[in-house]
């Protein structure tokens, strides 16, 4: 029987981003997701993790938990941390049609998450900390292993 839930817990450090990325691609290959889905989920989780490391923990040490689960036709991603309350949805999206002079540097990470995922929800609990749930429909890849 195939496993349908994978979890990783690691220290909130920017050096861990490649580790997270490998975990995501291995797990999604296991779910038989196609390459495009893997790329999108990887980017969304990378952006969410970067925000947690830089803002929720402001560079201080802490833990980051990421769970990937297959629920029906959806990949459900749960990202948890115990840093400061940080609601990514509260960050305004940049205007991506602006010319160079007016283009602001920032806000793109959150924009990618909203753009690439089908659904995003955030909650904060004083004991449990921040919880971000992302959902993405699973597209199955054609390659058979």
């Amino acid at each position: 029987m195939a496993l349908d839930k994978f979890e990783i817990e690691l220290e909130s450090k920017i050096d861990n981003l490649p580790v997270i990325s490998n975990f995501v691609s291995e797990t999604l290959s296991n779910f038989r997701a196609d390459e495009s889905t893997i790329n999108k989920v990887q980017l969304a989780i990378d952006e969410a993790s970067t925000n947690i490391i830089n803002y929720a923990y402001s560079g201080a040490s802490g833990t980051l938990k990421i769970a990937l689960e297959l629920v029906g036709q959806d990949i459900v991603i749960t990202i948890r941390d115990k840093g400061k309350p940080f609601d990514p949805m509260s960050i305004a999206s940049p205007d991506v049609s602006q010319d160079l002079e007016h283009r602001k540097i920032g806000g793109l990470g959150i924009y990618f998450i909203k753009k690439l995922m089908d659904n995003v929800s955030y909650s904060f609990d004083p004991r449990e900390g921040n919880r971000l749930i992302l959902r993405k429909k699973l597209s199955i890849g054609t390659s058979v292993q």
């Binding site: 981003l17 790329n39 010319d99 160079l100 283009r103 990470g109 924009y111």
Partner: protein, 115 residues
């Protein structure tokens, strides 16, 4: 990530290899800052071997582009892989940068557009 460099007479080239995430962005930022210290930089960034880019990488490129253009210079990109190009498109960055399929074309473009 690995970063290669080549310096020509009027043109500098950076080669980005691997993953440009928040972890790697600081190193790339240093290289771009160094290049844009020149009075007028003509920089080509070769992305043929760049597999991945996140918003942290885009941020560094955008800051560099703003600086370079202010000094009448430019940062031109070459050889973007389809996935990296897709990220540029979503971010609205494809309209900000001059992009070329091949490194040679990006290099040549500087001699053509010299005013």
């Amino acid at each position: 990530m690995e970063i290669g460099e080549k310096q020509g007479e009027n043109i500098d080239i950076l080669y980005l290899v691997g993953r440009l995430d928040a972890y790697a962005a600081a190193d790339v930022e240093k290289k771009i800052n160094l290049a844009t210290e020149k009075a007028q930089v003509n920089l080509v960034i070769s992305m043929e071997k760049l597999e991945y880019i996140s918003s942290s990488g885009l941020r560094v490129l955008l800051a560099g582009l703003k600086k370079a253009r202010k000094q009448q210079g430019d940062i031109r990109l070459a050889g973007l892989q389809p996935y990296v190009k897709e990220v540029f498109d979503i971010a609205g960055f494809s309209q900000l940068f001059k992009m070329f399929e091949k490194e040679d074309e990006a290099i040549k473009s500087y001699s053509v557009s010299k005013s």
